[in-house]
Each structure stands twice: as C-alpha cells, then as structure tokens.
C-alpha cells in the first residue's frame, strides 16, 4: 500500500481545498476592508454625537495627506520610522517572544548614529553607512540583553524589555540634556550631524518639496524584503518560525531554541536601531528629547495588524501613518481633535486582532455551501 491511486474523494477534496483557500483569502481581504469602513463609521457617529461636521472632518483626514506634496512627505517620513519599528517587533513575535523593547532599541540606535554622525569625520558614502551600521549594532545589542536573559536565564521577556526601556530612555534624556547638549543653545538638543551623514531628502530626487522624507524610505522597503526573505528563505528564519509555532517540537527536531530566541531579539533590535538612525540622519538631523514619540508602541500595533508578515507590515505601516498624518491635518483644519483618530485606530485594532471574526464568517460560508449541495 505504498501508492494508492487517488480516489474520487481525494481529488474532490483537493478541489475543495483550493476553493476554500481562495475563498479564505477573499474573506480575509474583504474583512480588513469592512473593518476599516466600520471604524470610520463609528468615528462618523462619534463626531455627529459630539456636534461636529463629520463630512468636513473626514474630507480633511482622508484627502489631507495627499493634498500637497510636503504633506505626502510628512506621511512617508512618519511611515518609514513606524514600519521599521513594526518590523523590529514582528521578528521576535514570530518566535512567539513578546518583545516590548523597541523603545530602548530605537533610542540606543539614535544615540549610536548621532555619536558617529556628529563626532566622527568620515568620507562621503561612509559618513552615511557607518552611522547606520553603528545604530543597527547598538539596537542589536539592546535586543541581545533581554533575548539572552530570556533564553539563558528564563527571565520574562516582557518585564526585561520594559525595564530596559525605562533605563535607556533615562540615559538618553540625561545625555541629551547634559553631555550631548549643543553648547550655547537655549533649546535642548544635540549638535547637528555632519552634512555628509544626512540621508538624502527625497525632495532632491524628485524636485518637488517632500518635507523631511528621505531615502530612508527605500532603506525601509529593502529591510522589509530582507526580513521576509530571512523568515521564508533561510534556515535561521525556519528555526525562528518553528520555535514560535511549537518550541517543544523545535527542540525535539534538534533546533537550539534558546539560540533562535536570541537571534530573533538581536535581528529585531538591529531593525529598531535603524529606525533610530533614520530619525537622526533623515528626520531631525540631531538628537532631540523624546524623538521617537509613541512610535515604538504603535509599531507593535502595526506588527499585530500585519500578523507579523514583514511585507504586510509595510502596508499596515503606510496605512497607519496615513491615519496619523490625516488626523493632524483634520485637527488643524477643523474643530475635531486627533482623539477621533485614536478612536478609529482603536476600533480597527480591536476588530483586526479579534481573529475569531473572519473565522466565524468562513465557517458560516462553508456551512451555507454545504447546505446548498
């Protein structure tokens, strides 16, 4: 009974499986769309109830970011940082490690990039690359600490990353307010980076004003593709996936689970470090207090929305940033505050992370089809 000929039922099942798979994809996509529409509808109602003009507000929010070229730049610049931070947590998430350490990693990356870009004179191309590399290394190191604590000592990664965040953010504040503060300046920030270290603004390339958007955008896209390849096309990515899916199985199969966990933290840390470099070399051109804002934690949301698939993280990051940018414009142009954007974002997150909904829908469709037959 090595090779039984395929029975009628088996070929029927094969056809059914393919149909089901296509249908599930369609359901997933339309559910995502429906989720966004539902969130917008809820925002609409909230604005109506609070006595605002929702049509005007939505017009500002949804068309605003594309209105003028510098607003597009504002959106892309924000999306670049946010997506990099989303990618940075998506990798540990794939190993089922709840890393909340993007904040410490992004600030470590920013510090390292600034240290090199401000103080170390380098030839033109190296002046861009060396700070980037330094930032990735610093971020990776900041990822390694909780990763090793989890993998080798069994420390809880949530606690470890949060504590490390607290420490690094304080150190960063101290350095920006003290040793690294630009002498003679009344505002709190570091000296500006050397001209050669700046990531080329996109305005220079396209000849239209695109604000502070820069070639970091392409760096981000390359990183996403590289991470996707890492996860799907390398033995290390396989080990990370299996560790996340069933660590007991991974161990049984001869995978060194602690190493896979450590690597997932280190890779994620390096990417968050790059986000820090992007802020320093591309956006602000210097260190500023709290330069990452709330982006580190919104990166987690982006990764969750994308179900930790690196390519989908890009889409989710662009979308999420668009809402952020649109919210700002809405606040400027109408009486509606950005709070409404937070409401919309929250509803989207709730609906998307409620994975049971699409599954329920798929089951219902399957049942209906079975009933028809």
């Amino acid at each position: 009974m090595t090779t039984t000929p395929m029975t009628l039922i088996e070929s029927e099942d094969r056809r059914e499986y393919r149909v089901t798979r296509r249908r599930d994809l369609a359901v997933d996509l339309s559910m995502t769309l429906a989720t966004i529409l539902a969130a917008l509808a809820i925002g609409f109602l909230v604005m109506l109830v609070t006595g605002n003009d929702p049509v005007k507000a939505y017009e500002a929010m949804l068309t605003g970011p594309l209105d003028r070229s510098f607003r597009v730049g504002r959106w892309l610049e924000d999306a670049t940082t946010l997506t990099l931070l989303g990618l940075s947590v998506a990798i540990p998430f794939r190993a089922r490690q709840i890393s909340l350490g993007a904040e410490s990693q992004v600030y470590a990356g920013a510090l390292a990039a600034a240290a090199v870009a401000v103080f170390l004179p380098l030839p033109p191309v190296a002046a861009v690359l060396v700070p980037l590399f330094a930032a990735a290394t610093a971020g990776a190191g900041m990822g390694f600490v909780p990763g090793a604590m989890k993998a080798r000592l069994g420390a809880n990664e949530i606690v470890a990353t949060l504590m490390l965040n607290a420490i690094v953010v304080r150190v960063y504040d101290y350095l920006v307010n003290g040793p690294l503060k630009e002498p003679g300046s009344s505002a709190v920030h570091s000296r500006s980076i050397q001209q050669d270290s700046a990531l080329t603004p996109l305005s220079d390339w396209f000849g239209i004003p695109l604000g502070r958007a820069n070639i970091g955008l392409f760096l981000m896209l390359l990183t996403a593709i590289a991470l996707w390849l890492l996860i799907t096309r390398t033995p290390l990515g396989y080990r990370i996936r299996m560790t996340g899916s069933n660590p007991d199985f991974a161990e049984y199969g001869g995978i060194r689970v602690p190493r896979a966990i450590e690597w997932s933290f280190v890779i994620g840390g390096a990417v968050a470090g790059l986000a820090g470099a992007h802020l320093v070399q591309g956006v602000y051109g210097r260190l500023e207090p709290g330069l990452a804002g709330s982006l580190a934690f919104e990166g987690i949301v982006v990764a969750l929305l994308a179900r930790n698939n690196p390519l989908v993280v890009v889409v989710a990051g662009l979308f999420y940033s668009y809402l952020r940018a649109g919210g700002d414009i809405m606040e400027q142009q109408t009486d509606v505050g950005t709070e409404i954007v937070v409401v919309i974002q929250a509803v989207i997150v709730l609906l998307v992370t409620a994975q049971a909904l699409p599954d329920l829908l798929k089951r219902r469709i399957a049942r209906r089809q079975a009933g028809v037959r």
């Binding site: 039984t4 094969r14 390398t234 033995p235 899916s245 199985f249």
Partner: protein
C-alpha cells in the same frame, strides 16, 4: 431530566447527517444510523472516517451542516454538551476531563452537587458515588484525589459522572487505549451490566478484537460515510478490517526472522533522576542492527523517560549510552540526530509536530539547514516542497497539498508525517514510542510494515508501546520495565503470551540479574555460563 423521551424508536439516531467543517473538510457525508435502547453498538473506522465527528454531534460538541440528530426518538437541536446531557447523553472522552485536584466523589457530582443553599454536602457526594459504583460495578475510591489514582479509575470516574447525570446513552471514545488488559476486562464487565440495565452504549475503538468481544452490533464508517452495520456474531476481525479500508487487509505481520548484526545501541548502568515522573535505575541492554527490541511496561514506569534520554531530550544522570560507536550521553539533541537516532515521540501533538505549520515544513525540521534543502545559508522553498511531495507519495499521506497545516490531518495521517520524517533520515537507531496510538487499522498496518522494513534495512529499532499485542507481533526481543528498572528480558518472543508478560509488568515475576545482563559485553561471561541461563529467554523466572 430525560422527560421528553418517546417510548418507541431508537435511543439515538442520525438521519442524512452531513458535517462540513469551516476549512472545507467534509467529515461526515449523509450518514443514517439508528441505535436502539439497550444495545452496545461499536462504531469503527479509520482515523478521519468521521466517527469522532459523528459522536461529537450526538454529544452537541458539533452541529450537523444538514440532516438531523434524534435522541430518545425525537429530532433534537443540540446547542452544546449541556443540552445533550439534559437529554441523557453522556460521553467519556479519549482525553479524560476531570478536575485533578478534586476527589473522585467531587468530580462525579460536579455540576449537580447534592446539598442546599449553595453548600455541597460532601458526605452525600461520597455516598452517592459509592452507591453508583456499587450498582454499576465500576470500582472507585470516592475519597481519593483524582490526580493520585490510576488512569483506569479516572475513566471509571468519568463514567460514574455520566451515570450520576442520569445518562441513558453513553458514548465511550476509545476507552481501552489507556487501560491494562485486566482493567479492560473489568470495564467490559461493567459496560455489559449497564447494557443489561437498559443503557445504550456507543463504543468507539480501533481494536477490532475488543469490538468483537464487547459489542452487539458494529457500524463501520469509511471516508465520512456509513459503510454498513453488521451483527457482531457474523463479523470477523478480517471482514471488519476489509469494510473499514474498502479492501481485503490482513492484520498479521509478515516478518522474517531477524538477522541481528553488530550492536548499535549500547546502554550501560543508565540512571536518570527525574524531577517529576519516573526515575530510571541501572539500565543495561543492547539493541543490534537489524532487530526490533520491544519495551513493555505499564504506562508511567519509565518508558517515556527512557525514550527521551535516548533521544537526547533529557540528560542521563549517570551511565553510558553509545549509538554506533558514538558516545551520545553528553550530546545535545542535534548531536543525537547526527549520531543517527530517529525518534517517533509518544505524544505527536506535544512535540511531534508544529501543528499550525505546513506538512512540508514539518517534514524538514532535522534537515532544514543542509543540502539539498539549503545551500549557502539559503533555504529553498521549492526544494522543501519537492521533498514533501516525495514523502507524501512514498508514505501515502492523505492530503490535498503539502501546504496544508498538520493540524488539519487525521491522527493516522499526522503520524505518517512523523514516521516519514524519521524514517526518511535513514536512522541507525529508531526509537518508536506508541507509534500506533490513536491510529486506524490501515495506518497501523502501514506502520508495522515500515518498522519491519527499516529493521530489514539494517536499523536497530527500539519499540516502546502500551499495546502488548503490537509488541509481541513486532518484537524480536522484549524488555520489561517496572518502576524504572529492567525486570524482564525475553530473547525469544515466539510463543510468549500477553498474560505471561503481564505478570512481569505487574511485578509478580521478574528475571534475575544474570538473565537480564546475559551477553552484555562488560559482564563476566563466566557468570552467565556458570548459571546455565542462556540468553534465549528459556531461563526460569524467579517468583517473588
């Protein structure tokens, strides 16, 4: 409870029931089944034949996509187990569902506790349980904590729980899988007694011998459909197996005498201090290339620990283990695999597979980092897929596609994925633990053939099983473990009976040290010769 049963008609019935799961799998296809009151009805079929799904529909765990379920002669809509229980349907699952920290009595009355005003009358609970146990012949100790009693007693507790809720239909899902032969006999006696009292019993099993022993009628399912129902008296194991797989199939294992070559696995003075579970003490044995050595024992007497120590998942405390000349005692899991050890773990759901990952990914866990799958740090998805397609074909894994997650496979198919992975690595030593647990007849036969084929190809096979029939059918030699110690060694399994091995498993008899260590290379050969005990198992056992 049970007030709405019609007087006439079957106790349980399905009319044109079809069940399609959300992922498109049609598990049950237009089944018509009627079971009258007071009958023991066996439902048999391969894994994935739909019998579990059908039972779940009777118990309200699943709802039919079309058709209707009848209980007590009337069509019912069961929204959950609660409504099934209210109608008098009880189910004992394969994985027992009790509160481990509660006593037997507390578990029996759970949900319908005696007592007033929210207080539980624990004396009444114990009395009720004792009375029920007395009436049904299901012996339990009402005051013992569930986590301290045997699996058999836990199962009896589950049945008593159903009786306490006045079940008139009892569904037993593979009840004997966890029992010793003696416990099985007791269970069957109790089930017959319940039947004589008017209980309808649905008995799901893979073991056709037991089905023939216990049931009145047998319903056979195949690929979601009901193939037929026959009176047990008219059926043979062979005819049932043929109905199940749709063609003639013998369950006997054809197996040429083993031709053992050089020693592959050499274990000496192996001890392992288990933090939880059973420790191992002073184990010493050999397994040669080209032989199957069985390990018998009541579950939990060190078999799992031995398998995991040998596979590298646990570190032995003392002693030496070598495989094909490589000392493996200090190596990690990957080192064990490099030394040529394949391992089919006893619990495939726990560590045998990553259930949410594809079949293709599950087949490469031990070889994902080397050619032909990976070259220069790049893993080729095409190669992984081709590799999977080859093994799916070679090991007759039933799946529409290699990208299907393992979770979607039936038990037998899932086990084929694991066996395909472990055997295709060409292991020098194969540790096969409970290789046919929860696997259908067709797949069982397939596993047997593959194990014998691996043996004949020169692998040393260590077969660990709770199924004595299987051990005796496949093993060239047999070891018996009790309390983490070797207590029996049979170098010739021909003519060995389950009863006799059972005596060693229970500790009634044991072999002495000379026989256990006969022929092992670091024992003085003179010792063995002077005692006149040959390594052929004919030596007399000393009674305790």
């Amino acid at each position: 409870m049970n007030e709405s049963w019609a007087d006439a008609g079957p106790a349980v019935a399905a009319h044109a029931v079809t069940k399609t799961y959300g992922n498109g799998v049609r598990a049950v296809r237009g089944v018509d089944l009627e079971v009258p009151s007071g009958e023991i009805r066996a439902v048999v079929g391969e894994n994935g034949a739909g019998k579990s799904t059908l039972m779940k529909m009777f118990y309200g765990l699943e709802q039919p996509s079309s058709g209707e379920i009848l209980i007590g002669g009337r069509p019912r809509v069961l929204r959950g187990p609660g409504s099934a229980i209210a109608l008098g349907v009880g189910m004992v699952h394969q994985n027992l569902m009790l509160v481990p920290s509660f006593t037997v009595a507390q578990n029996v009355v759970l949900g319908v506790e005696p007592g007033q005003r929210g207080l539980v009358d624990s004396r009444a609970a114990v009395e009720t349980t004792a009375l029920l146990a007395e009436e049904s012949g299901l012996a339990v100790d009402p005051k013992a904590r569930v986590d301290e009693v045997s699996v058999g007693m836990r199962q009896r507790t589950e049945i008593l729980k159903a009786l306490h809720r006045r079940a008139r239909v009892l569904i037993l899902d593979e009840p004997t899988a966890v029992l010793t032969p003696q416990e099985t006999e007791d269970l069957f006696a109790a089930v017959r007694r319940l039947r004589d009292g008017g209980m309808t019993v649905l008995f799901i099993s893979h073991k056709l011998r037991e089905v023939r022993e216990i049931s009145d009628k047998v319903s056979v399912m195949r690929a979601g459909s009901l193939v037929g129902t026959v009176a047990t008296a008219d059926a043979t194991e062979r005819s049932l197996a043929a109905m199940m797989v749709g063609r003639d199939l013998s369950l006997d294992v054809d197996r040429a005498p083993a031709r053992p070559a050089e020693v592959t696995l050499r274990v000496r003075d192996l001890a392992y201090d288990a933090p939880t579970g059973q420790s191992l003490h002073g184990l010493g044995f050999d397994v040669a290339a080209g032989e199957i050595v069985g390990v018998a024992g009541i579950e939990g007497h060190g078999q799992s620990e031995l398998a995991e120590v040998l596979a590298g998942l646990r570190r032995p405390t003392t002693g030496t283990v070598s495989v094909g000349g490589t000392d493996t005692a200090g190596l990690d899991v990957a080192g064990h695999r490099r030394a040529g050890i394949g391992y089919v773990p006893e619990d495939r759901l726990y560590n045998g597979a990553a259930l949410d990952e594809s079949i293709a990914d599950n087949l490469v866990v031990d070889r994902h980092d080397r050619p032909p799958l990976a070259r220069r740090g790049v893993l080729h998805p095409g190669a992984v897929r081709t590799h999977a397609e080859r093994l799916i074909e070679e090991y007759a894994i039933r799946t529409p596609d290699p990208s299907v997650p393992v979770r979607a496979l039936s038990g037998g198919n899932m086990q084929k994925v694991i066996v395909a992975r472990e055997l295709s690595a060409g292991p020098r030593l194969l540790i096969a633990s409970q290789v046919t647990r929860g696997v259908d007849v067709g797949a069982m036969r397939f596993m047997y053939e593959r194990l014998v084929a691996a043996r004949d190809a020169g692998a040393a096979v260590l077969l660990i099983s709770a199924d004595l029939t299987e051990l005796l059918a496949l093993s060239d030699r047999l070891l018996v473990l009790k309390d983490g110690r070797l207590v029996g060694r049979f170098d010739d399994t021909a003519g060995l009976t389950e009863k006799r091995v059972g005596l060693y498993m229970l500790g009634v008899e044991h072999h002495d040290q000379e026989q256990l260590t006969a022929g092992l290379d670091d024992v003085e050969p003179d010792d063995v010769e002077s005692d006149g005990v040959g390594p052929d198992g004919s030596g007399e056992a000393s009674a305790v």
